[in-house]
């Protein structure tokens, strides 16, 4: 169990650095509209809840490009804000950063944790291994990428319990492999991601738990249909482990459900894209809030 103090990442500084190094490069935007994906809540390019094998930004071979995003999600009882940035190099390597801020509001007041906020910082790297999701339209070969996301959690006043008796760590690293294929003629994109993770609620409730500390393999799937060059609709499913199911708070008190969403993504130009979604996040800490959480998700991404 680690108890290292939470050190906020100088996000503004990193963003400024990314912007600077991106702006000094040529305006490199040789990829086709929407083919760099949107920004997922973890910062990696992809769908909203899951990374894809695409490299972030509109940079293609020989180019460098960047994106920045801000996302909000609101369910009946909770809300999440996320923001971050990514840089894509030569349609090969993607480096991303993100910060998440989860507002538990007064749902944990019975535990003496009013207005609890759970925060985490995420640094991600993704490398395209093979394939071209868009142009290889005559083969079944997908674009494949491998990636990692290192996450560091600040659980606020819940920290002493979460990283104490509940047995979670305050940092963890997800490893994943993603395969993305655009079936160009029908305009259908399919992505499958397999993630090795210890994260509880994506890391907002730490990593692992007293009942088990190992990595679990979790599938994530996205399917999207292009309605025009500018507009895509789709659905996503993300499986999650349930490491805190058995805990000192009682069986099922912190049971975790899989995530699902239906989205529409709109890119009027290569400068900006807007993604709106309906999200179904299952129960979150059902001991204090038994209702299934569903709600709205809205994300804006700028590309440069």
């Amino acid at each position: 169990m680690k108890r290292s103090p939470y050190r906020p990442m100088p996000l503004a500084l990193i963003c400024a650095g990314l912007l600077a190094c991106s702006l000094t490069a040529r305006a490199d935007r040789g990829k086709l509209l929407l083919t760099g994906g949107t920004s997922s809540i973890d910062g990696a390019a992809g769908g909203g809840l899951t990374p894809w094998a695409v490299t972030g930004s509109y940079a293609t071979d020989g180019e460098t490009g960047g994106t920045a995003f801000v996302t909000g999600a609101k369910t009946q009882h909770y809300s999440l804000a996320a923001y971050g940035a990514a840089v894509g190099f030569k349609d090969r390597v993607e480096v991303s950063i993100a910060r998440q801020d989860f507002d538990a509001k007064n749902n944990l007041a019975p535990l003496g944790l009013s207005n609890l906020r759970l925060k985490q910082d995420i640094v991600g790297v993704k490398v395209r291994v093979t394939g071209d999701a868009v142009l290889d339209s005559d083969t079944l070969t997908p674009q494949v990428a491998i990636g990692l996301q290192h996450k560091k959690t600040d659980a606020g006043a819940l920290g002493p319990t979460l990283f104490g008796p509940l047995g979670a760590d305050d940092s963890g690293t997800d490893l994943y492999v993603s395969a993305t294929k655009l079936f160009l003629a029908p305009g259908i994109l399919v992505n499958g991601t397999l993630r090795a993770t210890k994260a509880n609620q994506n890391g907002l409730l730490g990593f692992g738990g007293a009942q088990g500390d190992g990595y679990k393999l979790q599938p994530e799937v996205s399917v999207a249909k292009l309605l025009s060059k500018h507009l895509a609709i789709g659905a996503e499913y993300r499986a999650k482990p349930d490491n805190l199911h058995q805990s000192v708070l009682g069986a099922g008190a912190l049971k975790e459900d899989d995530w699902f969403d239906l989205f529409v993504a709109w890119a009027p130009t290569k400068d900006i894209s807007i993604t709106a979604a309906y999200v179904a996040l299952g129960k979150i800490a059902p001991a204090v809030q038994p209702r299934r959480q569903t709600g709205a998700y809205l994300s804006a991404q700028i590309a440069f």
Partner: protein, 146 residues
């Protein structure tokens, strides 16, 4: 959870199989028909040629191209790949482009200009993608720059 996963898997399987069918339909002239046959393709190619020369990204590659030769050649080529009764008799893609130092960004710029022309001539989005899906594999012969 099990049920959700199974349902998701089935949904993806169905999507994939229909996507594959649409992808690999042999000797199907539906794209040719949707483009308005050879006359429709020719109209798009005339518009395309003008835009290719005007666009700052593609212009340098086409500034000395011969319109009276290229437009009919492109028309024959798209007619053929879309399943129409034509035979492209021009030079193969590889040798023609080998000395032109074309990158993926250049290739995509040409795709974007073609999309402008298809929009201008009212080609439906599905027929646009049907044609692009048959042209995109040419990237292996055309893109020579990393």
């Amino acid at each position: 959870m099990m049920r959700t996963t199974a349902a998701t898997a089935i949904a993806i399987g169905l999507t994939l199989s229909s996507a594959l069918r649409a992808q690999n339909t042999p000797a199907d002239d539906s794209v040719y028909q949707a483009w308005g046959q050879k006359a429709g393709i020719h109209a798009v190619m005339e518009d395309f040629f003008v835009r290719l020369q005007a666009d700052a990204r593609t212009g340098p590659f086409f500034k000395s191209a011969n319109r009276d030769r290229l437009v009919p050649q492109l028309t024959e080529q798209l007619c053929q790949v879309s399943g129409g009764p034509c035979r492209y008799a021009g030079a193969p893609m590889g040798p023609v482009h080998s000395s032109m130092d074309i990158g993926t960004g250049d290739f995509n710029a040409l795709v974007e200009v073609l999309q402008q022309s298809m929009d201008a001539k009212g080609i439906p989005f599905s027929a646009q993608n049907g044609m692009l899906a048959r042209l995109a594999p040419m990237h292996r012969d055309i893109i020579t720059k990393d």
